[in-house]
């Protein structure tokens, strides 16, 4: 490998403004969009008082009513805004969407909700905790009538803990999907660089390719220099995106950052290989190749949940094979398993599959590139 050729090629790549925009800036813009769109769900400070209705069972319910009224988070935000009514009215309110839920009774309070969102989950968790703690709460109230005002009950109920727990649960399941998919998409985006390298070295694809092909440098040597330059330029974009997500918008990537970088690196090579493969073997106009690449990368990102997280689960259950050959999905899956599991088994499986894909694409591309004269140029 010649350092000089590598450096010049790298210069070429980073001076291509359009490629730099799509590779460096675009993912960061997308990450920012996700961040602003989900910012509300992201932080506990943003907890809003939830409107609910309570259907009382008469005197017995009074102390439970008091507990509900007094419930607040440690920041002093009241948890519930309660409307008292009968069950028919409560039902109507719920239907209209004026309240998030209604509760009936006190000894064994029953919860009625319409959806299954974050707020419903918080109310449910509250009631679950109350049911578990009701004996304790009743005992405390009996011995100390001022317990509610003194905040003792809230302490016992530990609202913050489960509000946070509920939100934390939501975070990886729904929100991390977006960021992982984005990072994975950025890895596979290397395909565009792979395609470009092939175009620039194949005599039948460009005048520059013809010129280097008649020179006295062995073609594979030049290709190696160029693909390493492309990898360098592309991996730089991944690092930038990672730092932006990790330090600026504080996405939680777990603790295994080295593993994360490793799978990104494999992903970058898979992308380069895919682009090179399409460049060599799709015998169509440049525009067609680019369109195929865009469909493949964006489609892969879509199927791995970048636009809608549910798609990922649907594909995994209905078309498992597809999720095993979709490089974007293998990448997101590797990242999840780093986050969720304590063992690395699933991470290794995914990374290995991804590596196999990279190698297959790479070998096929090289077979095509080794050919040196053409029927038509």
């Amino acid at each position: 490998m010649s350092i000089q050729l590598y450096i010049t090629r790298l210069k070429c790549l980073v001076r291509n403004k359009e490629a730099m925009f799509w590779c460096y800036l675009f993912p960061i813009l997308l990450a920012s969009c996700f961040f602003f769109a989900f910012n509300n769900l992201w932080k506990i400070e943003y907890f809003d008082t939830l409107p609910i209705a309570y259907v009382s069972e008469g005197e017995e319910s009074e102390s439970f009513e008091q507990v509900l009224e007094a419930a607040e988070t440690s920041e002093g935000v009241k948890m519930f805004d309660i409307a008292y009514c009968d069950e028919v009215v409560a039902k109507q309110l719920l239907e209209k969407g004026d309240i998030e839920a209604y509760i009936v009774g006190s000894t064994k309070p029953e919860l009625y909700v319409k959806g299954s969102g974050l707020n419903e989950t918080i109310i449910k968790s509250y009631l679950d905790t109350y049911r578990q703690m009701s004996v304790t709460v009743t005992t405390i109230l009996k011995s100390n009538p001022n317990a509610i005002e003194e905040g003792l009950i809230d302490d016992v109920m530990q609202h913050d803990t489960y509000i946070e727990a509920v939100k934390d649960d939501k975070k990886p399941a729904e929100l991390l999907v977006y960021f992982y998919a984005l990072l994975a998409f950025s890895c596979i985006f290397a395909a565009n660089w792979g395609l470009d390298e092939v175009v620039n070295i194949q005599a039948n694809l460009s005048g520059r390719g013809a010129r280097v092909s008649v020179s006295s440098i062995p073609k594979m040597k030049l290709f190696l220099c160029n693909i390493l330059a492309a990898f360098t330029a592309h991996f730089g974009s991944l690092i930038l995106l990672f730092f932006y997500m990790y330090f600026i918008i504080k996405v939680d990537f777990g603790n295994n950052l080295l593993y994360l970088f490793a799978v990104c690196m494999v992903g970058s090579f898979a992308g380069l290989g895919m682009g090179a493969f399409i460049g060599v073997w799709v015998k169509k106009k440049a525009e067609v190749k680019e369109a195929i690449l865009t469909i493949a990368t964006l489609g892969g990102a879509f199927l791995s949940g970048m636009m809608m997280p549910d798609i990922k689960y649907m594909v995994a259950t209905k078309f498992p094979l597809l999720s095993y050959i979709n490089p974007v999905n293998l990448l997101t899956d590797s990242m999840y398993s780093l986050y969720y599991y304590d063992t690395y088994e699933r991470y290794y499986t995914n990374t290995l599959l991804l590596g196999v894909i990279a190698i297959i694409f790479g070998i096929l591309a090289i077979v095509g590139i080794r050919r040196k004269n053409y029927a038509s140029i």
Binding site: T8, A210, R211, S215, I217, A375
Partner: protein, 310 residues
Amino acid sequence: MVVKVDGLVKRYDKLVALDYLDLQVEEGEIFGLLGPNGSGKTTAINCILSLLKYDKGNIEIFGKPMGPNAYHIKKDIGIIMQNVAVFDELTVYENISYFCSLYIKDREEVKRLTQEAIEFVSLEEFKKFYPKKLSGGLLRRLNIACGIVHKPKLIILDEPTVAVDPQSRNKILEGIKKLNEEGATIIYTSHYMEEVEQICSNIAIIDKGRVIAQGTKDDLKAMISIGEKISMEVFRIEEEALEELRRLPNIYSVEHRENLLEIKSKKGKNNLVSVLEFMQRMNINFGKVITEVPTLNDVFLEITGKELRD
């Protein structure tokens, strides 16, 4: 012999682009490959360079068989393609230096050669320019610099003056002559006969993938029957007088169109004098008289029956 092409046949599907093409290029000459658009010049060059597969034939360069892996041959060839092929993201200097480093490892040597090439095409002022900012003529000169920077022994230029202003064109032609004087063998393709006449010492005229005539320009002109072209301004001339004129010895063809009498005569002495005497004898008034020796276009016209330029 620097380049030897024997019986080269190249088909694109059904279309026969090269039809048993033979070429011999001797060391030190400027070899012109002259032919109209679509006659197979570029195809021939790409076959010679082993970029194209061909159906039949033999190609030797520097006396050795040429092939895609013949790096020892390739290192001594410089190629300037028909279409400008440079990197838009690299400056003039960087482009030339990059193409040089494809051939030469030593960095100091690359620097020196790059500088020389820039001076050779007079792009000193534009060293730091990106190709997008260069005019057509300057871009062509950059393209040439990229092809010759490694001091090749054989330089192949495929229509290097297409879409170039006259000033740049002259610079390019002078440059080619200079490269030749410095020792390089040149293959020059063009469909402009003036250029080929101006710089080439040996010329092959090709049409439909075949060499139809080859030799120095004098050889080629000697091949055809026209020796001289006489044009005179004549406003009125009778058909009988034209007939009589045609019957004069040595006259090849006579045509009268739009006040212009065009007489092509065979080789021989005193053709003009006999025509002028005839005019006087017949009492035909005439204005301006121009005589010309035949051009390569006449050669092409006589052999193929069509004009070189369409």
